[in-house]
Amino acid sequence: MAAVITAAGLARTFQTKRGPVQAVRGIDLTVREGEILGLLGPNGAGKTTTLRMLTTLLAPTGGTATVAGRDLATDPVGVRRACGYVAQSGGIDGQITVREELVTQGRMYRLTKSQAVDRAEELARELDLVELLDRRTATLSGGQRRRLDVAMALTHRPRVLFLDEPTTGLDPGSRADLWNLVRRLRDEHGTTVFLTTHYLDEADALSDRLVVVDRGVVAAEGTPSALKLEYGGSIDASLQDTFLAITGRGPATAHATPVAV
């Protein structure tokens, strides 16, 4: 499969009052078309910063990246047209109805008014929001809000969908719904999904491949079973132990290969 995201030495340094902080020190990664990639890492490892750079929200201070063949630095608008993004906090304002948000979002992607209205209906059917169309978004439950967030990010049928901790704060039922949705996007639409998560069971169950970042660089990557074998010592190792071995932050196990820090 062709690469839909490539990053080489992608880096971001923030200037703060206490001097420069290297949030991302140099990320190299490739994401193939139609795969679900899970980005794992401890708090502060640079997951969200990486996502924000790949979605044009934050300018890199080093390195290069392409999304759907568009260069981040030279064609940010091309990147924006090719990707959808759901931030950790969502992106919904409570005073507006579900329908209005969906239609406005469609028009921000340059659909005509009638196309945007049709697309809103279509998304509502696909994401089980039909009954909620005329409700104000403030009245939605956490799971419903998240479905609306995803619906808005899918407005323009993006080739790549970025999800930043999509199931944080959701109840188990809503989490399962979201997992099914992500799989359906891949299977039915060939959408590439790039998601960050803290839930290792989620990463394990959902991702075709994992990338573990730690302290701003890629510490390990591979399929969940390959990582378990390499770092956890056996294919039956828990992803938890594997993760701790990779990031060197847990009780060292006999099999663990320590990673330079």
């Binding site: 044009t56 924006r80 993004y85 992106g91 005073q95 507006i96 808005m152």
Partner: protein
């Protein structure tokens, strides 16, 4: 594209404003209280200017409305940043300038609406002023609102919490209000205060609107007022757009 995008963002935010009618009316409350409880004190004082005391006070209150209302516009962006709305819009292909212009034009619309209410109340209190002058006054309030709201959004994009934002805005608006002479003409005061006042842009706007309210549309004050208002708006919108383009906050 810019027009399409600006109209889209404007529409979204205007609909949002119309949902909270209370806030729409609340904004006009402070100038209205000044009009009711402060205005009558001036009617028999010599203000050293042509026209009635209402023709001096009402232009000042209009600018007060613009100054306070627009400076705090950024609060909404801080809330929206927390909700992720700002980022969701910034990942769409929508023009960065439109993200700012749509918001500030909404603010300008709201303030012109409030300004009309204020002037109608003032007419009931005894204001008599030529219609073209009143309309020129609205144009100035709209320009001032566009300028201050742009700067306010730019600041809001760079702070994390309302607790950081509020004190900065207060520290800027209070001296601006006192120095602009919007309550009483600065010419009443000592020369040093008059000079200091000319260092703030608001002074030129207040003088220009006061001239408009007595029908002198070709005065030097009017010329300076237009230059300052347009220059300030151009500068502020440029700053604001830059921030929306690059904001890393």
């Amino acid at each position: 594209m810019l027009l399409h995008d600006t109209a889209l963002i404007y529409g979204r935010y205007l609909r949002q404003s119309l949902r909270s009618r209370f806030a729409l009316l609340f904004g006009v409350l402070m100038p209205l209280l000044y009009l009711l409880f402060f205005g009558p004190l001036l009617t028999r004082l010599p203000l050293g200017r042509q026209g009635s005391s209402w023709q001096v006070l009402v232009p000042g209150l209009l600018l007060q409305l613009g100054l306070f209302g627009a400076s705090f516009a950024g609060f909404t962006v801080i809330v929206e940043k927390g909700q992720g709305v700002v980022e969701r819009m910034r990942v769409t292909p929508v023009s960065r300038l439109a993200l700012l212009l749509g918001r500030v034009l909404r603010d300008a619309t709201v303030f012109v609406f409030q300004a009309v209410l204020l002037v109608l109340a003032a007419v009931a209190m005894g204001l008599r002023a030529p219609l073209p002058g009143v309309l020129i006054g609205f144009a100035f309030v709209a320009l001032l609102t566009i300028s201050l709201a742009s700067l306010s959004y730019a600041l809001a994009m760079n702070v994390r919490t309302p607790q950081e934002f509020g004190p900065v805005i207060n520290a800027l608006t209070m001296p601006s209000m006192l120095l602009s002479g919007l309550m009483l003409p600065m010419t009443l005061g000592p020369a040093w205060l008059d000079v200091l006042s000319h260092l703030t842009p608001f002074r030129y706007l207040v003088d220009a609107v006061r001239d408009a309210y007595v029908g002198s549309y070709t005065s030097a004050h009017m010329l300076y007022g237009v230059l300052v208002a347009v220059g300030l708006a151009a500068l502020s919108v440029t700053v604001g757009t830059r921030v929306f383009r690059t904001a890393g906050a």
